[in-house]
């Protein structure tokens, strides 16, 4: 088992755990935590997919001269994508927490069972 394989499996497991939390928990804050775990898992998967065997960070300096860069650097595109995904994940989490605060203000409860009146 190579290192990126282990990281990829960890990311996929974390995604599953987060999804389990989202589907089974009844507390809104725990659902949000599940969502954040799922997002983190997918970031780990994205970064793991970009790994190249024995690669290093794609930053050109004394340790990685330009002539060797194409042979020894890892894929920079998934890393750039992960930066984007982290920022959007933070934004979505912030909006979800704001909604959780407003929902708590409406019913004085954080359980989604308290909000069943407009389910369908």
């Amino acid at each position: 088992m190579t290192i990126s394989h282990a990281v990829l499996t960890t990311g996929l497991l974390l995604t599953l755990i987060g999804m389990w939390g989202m589907l089974t928990q009844r507390n809104i804050l725990r659902i949000i935590i599940g969502f954040a775990l799922m997002g983190t898992g997918s970031h780990i998967v994205i970064v793991a997919v970009g790994y190249v065997a024995n690669g290093t960070a794609p930053i050109i300096d004394d340790a990685l001269p330009l002539s060797e860069a194409a042979a020894r650097a890892v894929d920079p595109v998934p890393s750039a994508l992960a930066v984007t995904a982290i920022v959007i994940g933070l934004a979505v989490t912030a909006v979800m927490l704001a909604f959780a605060i407003r929902l708590y203000g409406a019913k004085k409860s954080l359980s989604i069972d308290a909000f069943a009146d407009s389910k369908w």
Partner: protein, 240 residues
Amino acid sequence: MMRLAAAACLLLALGAIFATISLDFRERTALPPLAAAYVEMVPRELGAPNVITGILLNYRAFDTIGEVAVLFMVAAGIGLLLGPGRKPKDAGRPGDAARDESEPEPSTEIVRNGADVMVPLIALFAVYIVLHGHLGPGGGFQGGAVVASCVLLMLLARPDYRIRLAQLSVAESLAGVFIVLAGMAGLVFAGGFLDSRVLPLGEFGTLFSAGAIPILSVLLGTKVGCELSVIIERFRAWGR
């Protein structure tokens, strides 16, 4: 019970898909053509040692602007949800009114002294991360997030500290305007919208190099830091 069973079925199916992905995964031994081109092009054409920053702030800078727009919309949306005047006036039980009037509970000495030491250091670190985005790990988004963590620590240590939302919005709007102006400059003087080669590339690996990338990084850091601080302040103002 039904719900748990349905969730378990869904997760088992998903787990099976993930297991096939994991079993079929083979570690790459070479870069795909696009990545190899980026790794070659960013240092050569943009003069930026950090390939990821080069991609984020030049080749895919348009996406980065969209991302900043998403953050702006989130700050605006949280203002809509938790802004002043949104709070219900009849805030429940009789005891609440007296507690709302009182001063916020002061934080402990450990937190206050820790913040006194850490806040300037974190602020300095944020500036370093923003300015060295094109040379090493870092950049506008990361530095902006560090700025916001500095503001959060400040608010934890001094609950009566007031963030001036008006100043933050002015700084944020100016940063946004300048990012778009830099983009227009790229359109006129270089290869396209947000092309960072409007300024000379300078000496490879020094602080003032890589064209407009450090400037874009600073503007982005300002904007992200302001937006995240506004979000934190909205949450705080709602709670008091």
